[in-house]
Amino acid sequence: MELLKPEILEKISTLNLRAKIIVKGFLTGLHESPYHGFSPEFKQHRPYYPGDPISKINWKLYARTERFYLKKYQAETNLSAFLILDKSNSMKFGEKISKFHYARTLAAALAYLLLRQNDSVGLVLFDSKIESFIPTRSRMKHLNYLLGTLSKNEPSGKTSISNAIFELIPLIKKRSLFILFSDLLEDPKKVIKNINIMKAKKHEVIVFHILDRKELNFSFHNEALFRDMEDSKTILADPKNLRSLYKNKLNQFISRYKMGFARKRVDYFQIITDTPYDKALREYLEKRKRLS
């Protein structure tokens, strides 16, 4: 799985190839199809083995045969997923790989994964407002369009997640899955409020909180002028002096998001940009599996 490390994959120029490598590598490492439970179309029965979830036992068949059988399902296109990617300037930050590049690749891999199982996938790119909107399609050809859009865009502008979500909600009529990739650098109260609106409209929301290790640990050494990537304000700061305070504040900030999302049953994943993509995907899918 060395190949799936972000800094190595970043050397592969095309996003398409990167996404495929990630998904193929990821699937090769799996012992069991992770997406069996998503699109429930019955395929066959199989005998129960200790360790299988009891909830999957077909009790009607047990009544007839007095033997335990589990239902197996064939995946089919029944999911409409929107990949919502933050392209604000703050996503440009990253030591080895920028948060945007990481999020973009992860989004591409997810798009490929979803399209492979016949889900329809759309794409939204935003900064303070929606910059690109691609409606969902389930054909594999649609992937090229998605990846092309992802490749063309580079970070710019200020972040306003709440505004982007507010703009997005009226555009989506069908019940969908929203997968948000962002560093969430906005007032948590506003963001959670708008995500609540999404949830109220029966949409599912998954949040990938993309962070860089350096941003998380504030691991700078000497005094420096820190320039805000979005509004270009400059501050002279001594990291050694500020580190603990900074980390406390950041942890409080993240906790507010975590608590807010947990309260509204929004899946929240904190992803550091040095995490291998497969691990990020695995975490996501395992969580989805548990929830399903």
């Binding site: 703050s90 996503m91 440009k92 930050f93 948060k99 560093d183 650098l185 860089d212 941003e215 700078f220 000497n222 005094e223 420096a224 002028l225 820190f226 320039r227 805000d228 990537m229 979005e230 304000k233 400059t234 501050i235 002279l236 700061a237 001594d238 050694k240 002096n241 500020l242 305070l245 900074y246 504040k249 950041l250 900030f253």
Partner: protein, 536 residues
């Protein structure tokens, strides 16, 4: 300090300024996603950061300046890293020099005056010159000045005045008669002083006096009557609220028996008789040599023939010759006038030194005997033949007899002929010359014994006169003489050195090389700069 070197090195202080400016430019700019979590620390930190930079600049500039000053060896007006024992004390006789340790140049005083300075010493760090500031006391330090470069000078706050005993005069002391002792006081006070004087005789308190000394009063007199023989006297003057030093004076007195003196003279010896008070001498005037009797005779203005016959007289006498022709004892010369030089072996009394100021006329040269005193031109003045003293001049018809010094001189002549014990009063460090004793020894006040160095067959010289007090002279069996030794009167005069004199002794303003001082400051700046740099 070398000014060219200073100006050559001074531009080096640009270095920290350049570093300061470069480090400002070098400050890294980091693009960061959001300043949400660091913005609140901005003001406090920026203030410290700016202060830190400023402090760093100041310490670095100071470091360089101190290094430059160390290199050019700027002098500073205090001693730094000098040996801790740079306490310099005046070692002049008035302070009594005890010890000089070459390594640390440490002079330990023992004189009673020193405790007066101790309270001052406690308040000040070492590196101070302590002295009674008598000009003549600085000779030792002048010799040693190379050892004390850059010593810090602190003139001590001397008392407003001082009392000291600087001399004593004693009238002739004869058995059964009262005699007067007058002590000379140096009274430098401008107000009256309460004093207590204690006169000790042979080690025991003999007389005590409470007295208020008026301004300018300079005498303390005692009227005494003592038994015959040698006596040790000392006077201690206590200034009750003052600065007591040089306040003890030693004196020796020989109380004699009354003497019969016959004066042989053609004319009535008016001045001689007047000079010999009847209280102490029975004086008789005679015209013929055959009439001489008693203990002693004075033959004034006698001719060659009488002189020769008097030499045969068993009674000791003083023979004053008149224009003698060539004889076995004298040669006639044209009339001359001369003064007496000080190389006297007759007596070391300071009174006799005054003789050198009096012109004495004479017209013959004593060719025989042992010369005790000389004229300035080398001719003998007083010579001794057997038990007689011969003088080439008349005691009556001379300027000498009109001078106040005549009476003590005459007493000395008489005393040198009478076989009385040796009794003398001298000043510190003056040698003692003792005549006609067989290997005499002197015992110092502290009990140390010294053997004299022979000068010739009859004379012994003692140079170990470095303590004030009374020295005893012994012949091995008994005490045959006493010598009182006191400080020179000028030692007791408190006179501060002028700034010019201090500069002469210790160099310009007492400055010392500042290399070690500035190197230390530079080191401190270096440590401080590191501390500031690491401080967050």
């Amino acid at each position: 300090m070398s000014f060219p070197a200073f100006f050559l090195l001074f531009p080096l202080i640009i270095i920290p300024i350049i570093i300061h400016l470069l480090s400002r430019k070098k400050l890294k700019k980091i693009d960061f996603p959001s300043l949400l979590f660091i913005i609140k620390n901005e003001i406090r930190f920026i203030r410290w950061f700016q202060l830190k930079r400023l402090l760093l600049l100041i310490t670095r500039i100071s470091l360089l300046i101190f290094l430059i000053l160390a290199v050019v060896n700027l002098k500073v007006p205090f001693s730094f890293f000098n040996p801790a024992k740079t306490l310099i004390l005046d070692n002049s006789p008035s302070m009594e020099k005890i010890e000089i340790n070459d390594k640390n140049a440490f002079i330990v005083p023992m004189h009673s005056g020193i405790p007066q300075f101790f309270s001052y010493l406690k308040k000040h760090s070492p590196g101070i010159l302590i002295t009674d500031a008598q000009k003549n006391g600085f000779t030792e330090i002048l010799k040693e000045r190379e050892k004390f470069p850059g010593i810090r000078i602190k003139k001590t706050a001397f008392p407003q005045g001082n009392l000291a005993i600087v001399g004593a005069e004693s009238g002739p002391a004869y058995q059964g008669k009262k005699f007067n002792i007058n002590f000379n006081i140096l009274n430098k006070y401008k107000e009256k002083r309460k004093t207590r004087s204690t006169l000790k005789l042979d080690g025991k308190v003999f007389m005590e006096k409470n007295r208020i000394l008026k301004v300018g009063e300079s005498d303390l007199s005692f009227n005494l009557s003592l038994p015959r023989g040698l006596h040790q006297l000392s006077l201690e003057l206590e200034d009750k609220k003052g600065f007591n030093f040089d306040n003890k004076y030693y004196l020796t007195v020989n109380v004699r028996a009354k003497q019969n003196i016959y004066i042989l003279s053609d004319d009535y010896p008016e001045r001689l008789i007047a000079a010999l008070p009847p209280s102490y001498y029975e004086v008789k005037w005679v015209r013929g040599t055959s009439e001489i009797k008693g203990n002693l005779f004075i033959a004034n203005n006698v001719d060659k023939k009488s002189g020769l016959s008097l030499l045969k007289n068993p009674i000791s006498g003083i023979i004053c010759l008149r224009g003698a022709e060539n004889t076995s004892i004298s040669n006639k010369i044209p009339d001359r006038i001369s003064t007496v030089v000080e190389k006297s072996s007759l007596n070391n009394s300071s009174d006799l030194k005054a003789l050198s100021q009096i012109p004495i006329s004479y017209n013959c040269i004593i060719t025989d005997g042992k010369t005790l005193m000389y004229f300035e031109n080398g001719n003998p003045f007083v010579s001794k033949i057997k038990n007689h003293l011969i003088l080439p001049t008349s005691l009556e018809e001379n300027d000498l007899s009109l001078h106040p010094v005549f009476i003590p001189f005459l007493f000395n002549l008489i005393n040198s002929l009478s076989e009385e014990p040796f009794c003398s009063n001298i000043l510190l460090d003056e040698p003692i010359v003792i005549t006609n004793f067989l290997k005499p020894t002197i015992i110092s006040p502290k009990g140390n014994e010294y053997a004299g160095d022979p000068v010739n067959a009859d004379n012994y010289i003692f140079k170990e006169t470095k303590e004030c007090g009374i020295y005893k002279i012994t012949d091995g069996n008994k005490i045959i003489g006493l010598i009182a030794i006191n400080n020179h009167p000028s030692e007791s005069k408190l006179e501060s050195l002028s700034d010019e004199e201090l500069r002469y002794i210790f160099g310009r303003s007492g400055l010392t090389n500042g290399a070690s001082f500035f190197l230390t400051l530079a080191l401190l700046c270096f440590i401080l700069s590191i501390f500031i740099e690491r401080r967050t």
